[in-house]
C-alpha cells in the first residue's frame, strides 16, 4: 500500500513537470511579449532593455531552469501587467475558487442524492420526470450559457440577486448553481440508473421479504450497493468543477483563478499564465491522486499495483 502511494505521488510530480515544461515552451514559442508590454512609441533600445530586464533574451532552456530554481524557493515571478508577485496574486484569488468549487460540489451532491434515489424508487413519478429533465438538460447546456440565463432571470428581470463580483452570501447563489449544474445532472443520472439496477437484485428482494422497513431496504441495502459507481463519477466531478470554474468565474466576474487564467492568457501575462497552470495542475493532479487512493480503501477488489 505504501509503495503504491509513493508510486502515485512520484507519478503526480512527473505529470506536473511535463505540464510546466510543455506550457513554458508553448509560451516562448509563441513569440516575444516585450513589445506588447511597452507603449507603442518605445524605441528599439528600450524594448531591448526591457527584454533583458525580463530575462527573455536568454535561451529557452536557461529561462526554464531559472524558472524552476526560483520555483523551488516559492518565487513564481512577477506579473507583467499587475506589477505584483504572482504568488501574492494567486494567494488572493485561490481561496475564492476553492470556496466556490466546494459549494458547487456540495450543491450537486445534496441535490442529486435525493433526486436520484426517489426517481429510481418512484419510477415514472413527477420526481422521476424532474430528475430525467435535469439530467438531460444539464448535460447539454454549456456552463457559460446557463450562467447567462441565470443572470438574465434573477439579475436583470427579477432583480433578486447580485450578478457579479464577490460580497455577501447572495453573491454565491448564481455562481454555485451554474458551476454545480452539470455535476448535478451527471450524478443524478448515474445514481438513478445504478439504483434501478440494484433495486432488482436478489439481496434487495431478500431484505424486503424479511419484512424490513422499506426505508431501511432502500437506504441500507440498495443505496450502499448502488454508491460505488456514483463515487467514481463523484471523484471525476472534482476535476470537472475545477475546469468549469473558468467559464463560471468569467461570466460572474468572480475574482478566482479561473478568470485570472483567462485574462492572463488573453493579455499574454506569461508569469501569471504559468503560475495559474501550475496551481490548477497541482490541484487537479492532487485531487485525482487522492480519489484513486480513496478507491483503494473503499473497494478491496482494486489492486495496489
Amino acid at each position: 500500500m505504501l509503495a503504491y502511494i509513493a508510486k502515485r505521488i512520484l507519478q503526480a510530480l512527473f505529470v506536473l513537470f511535463v505540464l510546466t515544461a510543455f506550457v513554458f515552451s508553448l509560451l516562448h514559442l509563441s513569440g516575444d511579449p516585450t513589445a506588447l508590454l511597452l507603449p507603442a512609441d518605445a524605441t528599439p533600445e528600450q524594448i531591448q532593455q526591457m527584454r533583458e530586464w525580463l530575462g527573455l533574451d536568454q535561451p529557452i532552456v536557461v529561462q526554464y531552469i531559472r524558472y524552476l530554481a526560483r520555483l523551488v524557493h516559492g518565487d513564481l515571478g512577477c506579473s507583467y501587467r499587475m506589477n505584483l508577485p504572482v504568488l501574492v496574486i494567486i494567494r488572493e484569488f485561490l481561496p475564492n475558487t476553492l470556496l466556490l468549487g466546494v459549494f458547487a460540489i456540495l450543491f450537486a451532491t445534496l441535490l442529486s442524492l435525493p433526486l436520484g434515489v426517489i426517481a429510481a424508487v418512484k419510477r415514472d413519478s413527477p420526481v422521476d420526470f424532474a430528475a430525467t429533465l435535469i439530467a438531460t438538460l444539464g448535460q447539454s447546456m454549456p456552463t457559460f450559457w446557463l450562467a447567462i440565463l441565470l443572470i438574465l432571470a434573477f439579475g436583470v428581470k427579477l432583480r433578486l440577486l447580485p450578478v457579479s463580483g464577490i460580497g455577501g452570501w447572495k453573491h454565491f447563489i448564481l455562481p454555485i448553481i451554474s458551476l454545480g449544474w452539470y455535476s448535478t445532472a451527471l450524478l443524478t443520472r448515474v445514481l438513478r440508473s445504478s439504483m434501478l439496477e440494484v433495486l432488482n437484485a436478489d439481496y434487495v428482494m431478500v431484505a424486503r421479504s424479511k419484512g424490513l422497513h422499506e426505508a431501511s431496504v432502500i437506504l441500507k441495502h440498495a443505496l450502499r450497493n448502488a454508491s460505488l459507481p456514483v463515487i467514481t463519477v463523484w471523484g471525476l466531478q472534482l476535476g470537472a468543477v475545477l475546469m468549469g470554474s473558468v467559464a463560471t468565474e468569467t461570466v460572474f466576474a468572480w475574482p478566482g483563478i479561473g478568470r485570472l487564467t483567462v485574462e492572463a492568457v488573453l493579455g499574454r501575462d506569461y508569469p501569471v499564465v504559468l503560475g495559474a497552470v501550475l496551481v490548477f495542475g497541482t490541484l487537479f493532479v492532487l485531487l485525482n491522486t487522492s480519489v484513486d487512493l480513496v478507491y483503494c480503501l473503499l473497494d478491496p477488489r482494486i489492486s495496489y499495483t
Binding site: 507519478q11 511535463v18 514559442l29 454549456p142 457559460f144 447567462i148 438574465l152 492568457v265 495559474a276 490548477f280
Partner: protein, 291 residues
Amino acid sequence: MKTLFPSKTKDTTLIRMLRRPKGFIGLTLVLSLALASLLAPFIAPHDPLKQNLRWRNSPPGSGPTPDGKYFLLGTDQLGRDMLTRILYGVRVSIVVALAAVFISGIVGSVLGIVSGFLGGIVDTVIMRLVDIQLSLPLFLIAMVWIAFTSPSLANIVAVIAIWTWTQYARVARASTLSIRNMDFVEAARATGASALWILFKHIRPNVIAPVIVIASLQFGRAIILEATLSFLGVGLQPPTPALGVMVANGRQYIDTAWWQATMPGVVIMLLALGANFLGDTLRDVWDPRLH
C-alpha cells in the same frame, strides 16, 4: 425504455431508433439543424457579415427593411441578422465537431484495437499514455495552446481531437480483448487466417458499434467544448459567426437585448441534446443488456 410498437427483430437500426421517443427527437434535431445550416446560403434571409447600423439591437420580429425583410430573431449590436448568423454558426459548430470526432474516433479506435490485439509492451505504452492524459487539466492546456499558437479552425479541431481520443481507445481495446479469445476467432486462427484478416473480418465489425455510440456522445461534447473555447475568446475569432462568440458578444447587452446571448445558446443546447439522445438510443438499441 418503452417502445410504441412491439419490435420485430428484422427491423433495421434506424427503424428501431425512430420508434423510441428519444431516438426520434434526437435524429430530428440533429438532421434538421444540419440540413438548415447546410442550406444556409439559400434559406438565410440576410448576409451573415453585413452590418446594418440603423437596425442594430432590434428585437425579434423587427422589420421590414426597405427590401421587405424581417429580423425573425432580432439583430446584434452591429445590426447583423441573428437568425442568419445562427444558421452559419451551426455550420461552423458542426464542421468542427464532425472533424474532431472523425479524427479522434479513427486514431483512438485504431490505437485501442492495436493495444488490445497485440497486448504486451504496445498495450502498456498506449494505456499509460491514456492514463497520463486523463490526469492532465486538458481544458487549461487547450486554452493556452490555442491562445499561444493560432485560433484557426484546424488548431481547434486538433485540440478537441487530442482531448477526446482516449475514450475511443479504451472502448475499442475492451471490445477487442473480449473478442480476441472467442472460439470463432480461435477457429479462424487455426484454419490459418492471418492477423490482418482476423482484425478486419472479425474484430472490426464488433468494435464499430460501441465506437459509434461513443462518437455520437462525443459529438455533443465537442459542440460544447468548441462553444466554450470560442466564448472565452480562445476559440474561433470574430467576425466568424461562431455560436460561442455570439453569446460572448450578446452578454454585454444582456440588460437591453436579451435575444443576443440567449438565441445562439438555445441552438448549442439543441445540437448537444440531439447528439446525446442519439448516442443514448443507439446504446439501447445495440446493447439490450443495458435495458
